[in-house]
Amino acid sequence: MLELEAVAYRYPGSARDALRGIDLRLKDGEVVGLVGPSEAGKSTLCLVASGLAPASIGGTLRGRLLIDGAPTTGHPSHVLGGRIGIVFADPASQRSGMTGTVLEEVALGPVNLGLSVEETLRRTRRALERTGLEALAGRDPGHLSGGEAQLLAISAVLAMEPRHLILDEPTSHLDAAAARRVGDVLRALATEGTSLLIAECRTDVLDGLCNRVVALDAGRMVLDGAARAVLADSSLLAIGVEPPARLRLEAALAERGLALPDGLVA
């Protein structure tokens, strides 16, 4: 279980807290969505939950980050990398640039962890299977489509076999088809038991994927509950988050006394 306890965070050199009073729990196997307007602190929360803030970027963290009840203060980022993985929005900047094939790129994480060649290959194979990239193992990572590149980034993090995976706007640089493909992979991961924390501006991606949704506004949590309830909550629009298309359609139909037929909207 990944837990943020009374967490507040301030970037280095900043005058205000970027996050305040955050209490968040991510149980094993849970899929939690994170929504909010831009500048609400979603990315910051992702960095804190993954341990990169403050370990990698500095700044001050108040409160605690706990993994299975044990606090993580003082652990360097490479230790946490084995427990919590994080995927960012831009596939290009997640490519290390030092490998010539997809296989080596995915293997980079386990190699960095100092694992044996057999273990590295086992994890790499598994990670490629989970994202459906086995056929591309020999490809140059610089010559992939947007969707493939993002799946590569996800693979590369999965190869370290983290228990919790955090994704900061994973589809924002992708077109609709690629976004759907990534969504499918995330769905498959969820059913396998990895817990996911997905920050998104596009609530459509979260619809049907998440158990719970948390809404952030100006660094504070304003909503936290079952996905269906939160996504349909009217205050979402008030803070500047557009509900998923399906729910908007349902609401519009309900106003006219109609119901949305099952199976109409994927």
Binding site: P12, G13, I57, G58
Partner: protein
């Protein structure tokens, strides 16, 4: 704060010791040119001695730090992940700007050390030096066989190392700090100091290349009128640069410009001193660029090869480095502060700011 000053002392002592040994070993501070090889033994020995002494200084500092703390944090801290992520971009900038944009704008300025200087300022002198060395090594070996590769870049790694080192030290001292809205009296004082330093650089470092001695003790009767004319031209150039600097200071009221110009000029003069023996010994003094015409002119007018190369680089290097320093300064000024402070020396480089 485990007696950091002790480490500084160790560094300086090591530098002095090695410097003295090297100077006595190389023989002379003789300024008379060797007629057989055209080398001014003293100048090149001095330049290389300084480079080695500085290296020894760092080693001395590091040795004591290792003894005191069991680790080498001052070096390691300069090479964190963020520095490592910046270095390839910086080197790519050197290569790309040095070759592409230079020709696009058709100026005899190379900008091929812009990345090195950037890393030096943001990450520290050793990171800057390492970037310079790596850039030249990659340029020769990493890009071999490609149109961008240069088989002749590798000996200049030592010049690049010096540039990165200087940029790092200047950055640490706050030379790249933007000082907007400087009050007029500070501005005037700063401008005056800058002009004096530029004049000193010209007097000690640039003009002697033509006059075979500083203005005071040079025997002008032995100097060809051609070189006296050149010296006058260069002096006029330095004066013009000083005027431009003062005008820019008055217009923008940012004293930082003065610091950066002075730093760039100083770095350029030292670069010229270190690059000259490399170019003269390895490449017959030429680079394939337009400045070779200057070398030809000077050699035709009677200079030995070494003197001619020195006379050429002492004009072009300070110009190139000053412009590069100013470009880096302008860029730093426009970068978001929160981005810069995350680099090891970013905070020192930018200085204190409200909020």
């Amino acid at each position: 704060m485990q007696r950091i000053w002790l480490r500084g002392v160790a560094g300086i002592a090591a530098a002095l010791a090695v410097g003295l040994v090297a100077l006595t070993a190389s023989g002379t501070l003789d300024a008379t040119p060797d007629p057989a090889t055209g080398l001014i033994a003293g100048a090149s020995a001095l330049a290389i001695t300084i480079a080695i002494a500085i290296l020894a200084g760092f080693l001395g500092y590091a040795a004591l730090e290792l003894l005191q703390t069991g680790r080498l944090d001052s070096i390691a801290s300069q090479f964190g992940t963020r520095t490592l992520a910046l270095m390839p971009i910086a080197i790519a900038l050197n290569v790309v700007l040095g070759q592409t944009i230079g020709t696009a704008l058709r100026m005899p300025i190379y900008l091929d050390s812009i990345g090195t200087i950037l890393v030096g300022v943001l990450c520290g002198p050793l990171a800057g030096a390492a970037t310079g060395i790596l850039a030249n090594v990659v340029w020769t070996f990493g890009l071999a066989g490609t149109p961008l590769g240069s088989p002749y870049a590798w000996p200049f790694a030592i010049v690049a190392a010096e540039i990165g080192l200087f940029a790092g030290l200047f950055g640490r001292a706050g030379f790249f700090r933007s000082r907007p809205d400087t009050p007029p009296d500070r501005l005037a004082a700063g401008a005056a100091v800058a002009v004096v330093v530029l004049a000193a650089l010209a007097y000690l470092g640039i003009l002697p290349a033509y006059l075979k001695g500083t203005l005071i003790d040079a025997d002008l009767t032995t100097v060809e009128p051609f070189f006296i004319a050149v010296a006058l031209g260069v002096a006029a150039g330095v004066a013009a640069a000083a005027v431009v600097l003062v005008v820019r200071l008055v217009r923008e009221r940012d004293l930082g410009v003065a610091y950066v110009v002075v730093g760039g000029a100083a770095c350029g003069v030292v670069s010229a001193l270190i690059a000259t023996p490399v170019a003269a010994i390895f490449f017959g003094g030429v680079t394939g660029g337009g400045t070779d015409l200057l070398v030809a002119a000077f050699q035709q007018a009677g200079s030995s090869l070494f003197e001619a190369v020195l006379q050429q680089s002492v004009i072009s290097d300070p110009i190139d480095k000053t412009i590069t320093f100013v470009v880096v300064f302008t860029i730093l000024r426009s970068l978001p502060r929160r981005f810069v402070v995350r680099f090891p020396q970013g905070e020192r480089a930018l200085g204190e700011r409200e909020g």
